[in-house]
Symmetry: C2
Subunit: 98 residues, 2 copies
Amino acid sequence: MSDRERSRLLTIFKALGDPRRLDIFLLVAGQDAPVCACDVGSGFELSQPTISHHMKILAEAGLIDVSRQGVWAYYQLTDEGQHALDALMRTANAAMVR
Amino acid sequence: MSDRERSRLLTIFKALGDPRRLDIFLLVAGQDAPVCACDVGSGFELSQPTISHHMKILAEAGLIDVSRQGVWAYYQLTDEGQHALDALMRTANAAMVR
DNA sequence: ACCATATATTGACATCCATCGATGTCTTTG
DNA sequence: CAAAGACATCGATGGATGTCAATATATGGT
């Protein structure tokens, strides 16, 4: 494994290692259509700056993508995020079997 | 995804979200035979208590197993740890392609 | 029994970071 | 242009946690 791969994985782990961000990631992942930031905010009891902060970290980790439409920001999983989710579901399932 | 799955994933992410622990995990993963704690300690510039601390967290996350032989503690990946590693390698590779 | 060595635990400390209020930026609408 | 609303950034702060020194525990050898 290259240094870049290791660094990438670390970024992903740090991004998803926070309970709020994991929740947000799973919320976005569970929707067919892109999710508005306002919807994310109403789903969790967090201030708007905090939501924005988490979104930024998830985006910088390459897990979600942002697309602006007017004043609204819509978030959806990137291909990499989808890959990660699939991989993690398998891991979680394997963990449950034990 | 059940609450238990989510909780399990969060534990794994928190465990691997620290650079030292990720390094240690990858070190253990890269060896065919179980790795002695002393070998881990010599590989990184960390005090013995810190290594022990990280090992405990990785073990509690179900990623590695400990087996004692005399005074020595040998660590190796659990099946779940191997699953996680495989999944994550695929994710990292996918990330690199972008 | 005693000592040496390997690992675990404890306590203290420093640093990181999640969080929020205040403020800034940008877009739309009147 | 002004006002309103959505999101981003800044600064400050409290809590979580990585780290180490000191100490405890356990195992093997003499």
